[in-house]
C-alpha cells in the first residue's frame, strides 16, 4: 500500500508544557484527512501515551507517523535509558515515574497497556543504555 504522508515530531525530555503537541498536531492532521473520529481518538490516545513516556522516562526522542490509505503506523523512538524488563513495564500499575510526573497526573502505570489495547498491532523493543522503540499500527476501517 502506498504511503500518503509522513510526519515527524521531536519530543523533548521533561518538557511538560510542550509535551502532547506532537499528538495534538497529529490529531489535527487526521481530522483534516477525514479519518473517523473514534479511530482518531484511539490513535491519539496511543500516541499521547507514547509521547508522554518519552517526556517522562527518557532523555528525549521523536514520534514519526506514516499514513497510508488504510492505516497509520506510528513509531515512538527515544535515545535511552531503555527499559530493563519489558514484561514488568507492560504490567498495569507498574511505574517508575518521578514525583514531578505524578504531580502532573501521570505515573499510574497504565500507559503501555493502554497503547497496546488501543492499537491493532503493537511492538516494543528496548536496549538498556541505548533506546526504546514502540511501533503501532491502527487500521482506518
Amino acid at each position: 500500500m502506498e504511503e500518503l504522508l509522513s510526519v515527524k515530531y521531536d519530543v523533548v525530555s521533561g518538557d511538560f508544557i510542550r509535551g502532547g503537541e506532537a499528538s495534538s498536531n497529529l490529531k489535527k492532521l487526521l481530522n483534516q484527512l477525514g479519518v473517523r473520529s473514534d479511530i482518531v481518538k484511539r490513535i491519539c490516545v496511543a500516541c499521547y501515551e507514547a509521547e508522554m513516556n518519552i517526556v517522562i522516562h527518557s532523555v528525549g526522542g521523536y514520534i514519526e507517523a506514516k499514513i497510508y490509505n488504510d492505516k497509520i503506523e506510528i513509531t515512538a523512538y527515544d535515545y535511552g535509558p531503555g527499559i530493563p524488563n519489558i514484561e514488568l513495564a507492560m504490567q498495569e500499575g507498574y511505574s517508575t515515574a518521578s514525583d514531578v510526573a505524578r504531580e502532573m497526573g501521570f505515573g499510574g502505570g497504565m500507559g503501555l497497556p493502554n497503547i497496546k489495547r488501543s492499537s491493532d498491532e503493537f511492538y516494543i523493543k528496548s536496549e538498556v543504555g541505548k533506546f526504546t522503540e514502540i511501533k503501532i499500527i491502527i487500521y482506518f476501517n
Binding site: 511538560f16 490529531k27 508522554m52 502532573m104 499510574g108 497504565m110 497497556p113 493502554n114
Partner: protein, 116 residues
C-alpha cells in the same frame, strides 16, 4: 443533562467557551490521575478534576472530552484556559470539593462511566 444545568447545580463559573453550555452530556468521570482518564473507553463523558495543569487539557483533547470541571476553587493559568478555548473545551470552576461536586451531579441524574 445540559452543561448549563450542571453549571447551575454546582454554582460554577464558566472560564471559556460559554456557547457550549447548551450541550448535553450523559456521564461524568472524576479523577486527578490522567493515567486513569486516558484508559477510559466510554464516549461523551465530562471530566471532574482538581488538576489544573496543561496536561489535563491535552488529555481531554485526545479523548474528545468537551467539558472539564475544576473543583475546590482551583484556577488554571491563563495559557491553560487559552488552550482549552482553542481546542473547544468548555471549562467550569466550582468551589465545591470533588466529592460534593460528584454527589450533587450524581443525585441529579448524571451517571458515572461504569459499564454495569
Amino acid at each position: 443533562m445540559k452543561l448549563s444545568r450542571i453549571k447551575e447545580l454546582i454554582s460554577a463559573e464558566i472560564l471559556c467557551n460559554e456557547e457550549m453550555l447548551s450541550m448535553e452530556t450523559v456521564c461524568a468521570f472524576g479523577s486527578d490521575l490522567m493515567s486513569d482518564v486516558l484508559a477510559l473507553t466510554c464516549k461523551d463523558t465530562i471530566l471532574i478534576t482538581g488538576l489544573t495543569n496543561i496536561q489535563t487539557i491535552r488529555t481531554a483533547e485526545m479523548l474528545d472530552i468537551k467539558c472539564i470541571i475544576f473543583v475546590r476553587n482551583k484556577r488554571p493559568d491563563e495559557t491553560i484556559v487559552e488552550l482549552a478555548k482553542e481546542k473547544g473545551i468548555c471549562i467550569l470552576a466550582t468551589r465545591h470539593t470533588m466529592f460534593t461536586t460528584c454527589g450533587i451531579l450524581y443525585s441529579n441524574g448524571l451517571k458515572g462511566v461504569d459499564k454495569d
